[in-house]
Structure formats: structure tokens, C-alpha cells
Symmetry: C2
């Protein structure tokens, strides 16, 4: 999922015309516990590279959802994997629950595509980058042998997200 | 080199017992120009995930060196690639100039190993992570077919750095 964060930042800053900052935080909890990858995208300079009020959060595990959902801003989006996140927290955000991991395994045949499906969903839901920018960024970061698979994963993400708009 | 930053952070926080934050900043200049990857390692919590006073900077291009060397702290280390950085800036830091890219190409046979050679050098020069932690972190992040190549690249980095200690 770190790679997904990097691709989103590059879609905005290299293939789009915005600024971006992307970060990972590792604490003692990173040894097997929840860890976090963040992306900030702005038309202005980014002074403080840490996300404090989140437009869209993706949580693939219950632990991550429980631990971090408080940072989602009012009317933001909390996207969760419906298989692994069953205890949905209350809050002034829109919850979108989709079987992302299951879709990666069953529709794409590779669990590893879950990050690219997620990227497609987030791009479509937030509209912070264009479909063209995110596709260029994905294709520049994945091995040549997997271009078609990842293009398809992205399209599946766009489709699943479009149902919620 | 983003991957090198991620591996350094994971060496400290997952394979060592420290906290780490790792970030990339992308501005309009990222389109072909200088871009920057940062790692902060601390025994305390990391509140501000942006490096402001740098213990060790690696610059592979003259542009990056010229643009960012001011952030290296007093008695810090400025590590540069001797082939591409020929105009060494003045400052209260120790300059170490090594043909990193050339070593990757000639000793390892693959330019892509320059990032792992660099990691070995930085680990050895700063001693911020142990040789064991950085090796575990490298081996967990590279494809199985390239384990031996990367292990060798890391060892070459240790060796080249040890000459400067």
C-alpha cells in the first residue's frame, strides 16, 4: 500500500499539475500492527507534510479503521474492506464498504492488485486526480509484464467506486 | 531512491527498535528536476515528519547537491556521487565523494543497485542502524531472484564507507 501512496502522489505532481507529499510513519506498533501511509495533494505549496484532516481514508483492517478513523474530516470518505472491517465506526463521514481484497483475488486473480483497485476507487471517489493521470502513474511504476493486469485492476476500481457516486 | 528511503526507515523501525518517518515531496520541479526523499529516525516519537537539520545527505546529481546542501547540519555528512557532482559546496560538513553509479555498473553489473550501495554506505557512515537491520530490511524488499546481488551491493557499500571512517 506504500506503493499506492507513492503512485497517487506521482499522479498528482508528475502526471497532474499539483504539489504532493507522501509519507510513511513507523513506530513500535509497526511490528505487525497497524501502520499508515499518507498522501497530501494541493495546488499550493505543502508546508506541513502530515495529514491532519483527511478527505479520504482507506482501511483494510479493523485495527487500522478503529485506530485512525477519527482523523477523517466532516463529510470525508471512509473506505473500508467489507470482509475485514465489520465494526463500522460512527462519524460525520460517508462510509463506503467494498470487498476489495476479495475482488482482487476473484476478479483479477491476484491479491496483490488490491492496492491498484483501491487507487482506482480513491481517484474516482475523490476526483483529486484524473483517470488519465492515475493510469499514467500506475503504468510507470509497475513491471512491464503486469501492465495489462494493473490497467484492468484500475478500471475495476473506477467501476466499483462509480456505483457509490 | 524512494525505495532506499523506505528500506532505511524499515531497518530502523521494523528490524531495529527505533521510530521512523519517511517522506517524498513532489513539487512542480519534480517533472524531471530535483526531487527529495527523507528519512527521520529517532528513539522518541516523531512529531514533525520533515527533516530540517540533516545528519547525512546523499546527492547523486549536481542539481540536488546545489539545491539541498544547505540543510546538512554542522559536522554532518554530505555524500555525493563523484562522477556527477563535481562542484562541491562549502560548508561545515564532511564531504564524502564516491563513484556510486560507476561502482554499481562496474562492480555489480547493474546500475539499479546504486540505491542499495548507497544504503550500505549511509548505514556504515552514520551507524544509525546496524548492519544486520539494514540487511534484513533490504532482503525483505527486493525480489527473490535478486537477493544475492543486493546482499553484495550492500557489502560493497559498507566497504566503500569504511574507508572514510
Amino acid at each position: 500500500m506504500i506503493l499506492a501512496g507513492i503512485i497517487m502522489a506521482e499522479a498528482a505532481a508528475i502526471y497532474g499539475d499539483k504539489n504532493a507529499a507522501q509519507s510513511q510513519s513507523y513506530g513500535p506498533e509497526s511490528r505487525g500492527g497497524a501502520s499508515k501511509s499518507e498522501v497530501i495533494i494541493s495546488e499550493q505549496d505543502i508546508d506541513y507534510p502530515k495529514a491532519t484532516s483527511i478527505d479520504c481514508m482507506l482501511a483494510l483492517t479493523q485495527e487500522a479503521c478503529t485506530k485512525y478513523h477519527d482523523d477523517v474530516k466532516k463529510d470525508g470518505i471512509l473506505l473500508v474492506d467489507s470482509t475485514y472491517v465489520t465494526d463500522i465506526p460512527d462519524g460525520d463521514f460517508k462510509v463506503i464498504s467494498e470487498p476489495i481484497i476479495e475482488t482482487a483475488r476473484d476478479e483479477l486473480g491476484k491479491i496483490i492488485t488490491a492496492n491498484i483497485i483501491s487507487l482506482g476507487m480513491i481517484a474516482e471517489l475523490t476526483e483529486v486526480v484524473t483517470r488519465e493521470s492515475i493510469e499514467q502513474a500506475v503504468l510507470s511504476r509497475v513491471p512491464p509484464a503486469f501492465l495489462e493486469l494493473n490497467k484492468k485492476a484500475l478500471a475495476v476500481g473506477f467501476d466499483h467506486a462509480a456505483r457509490h457516486k
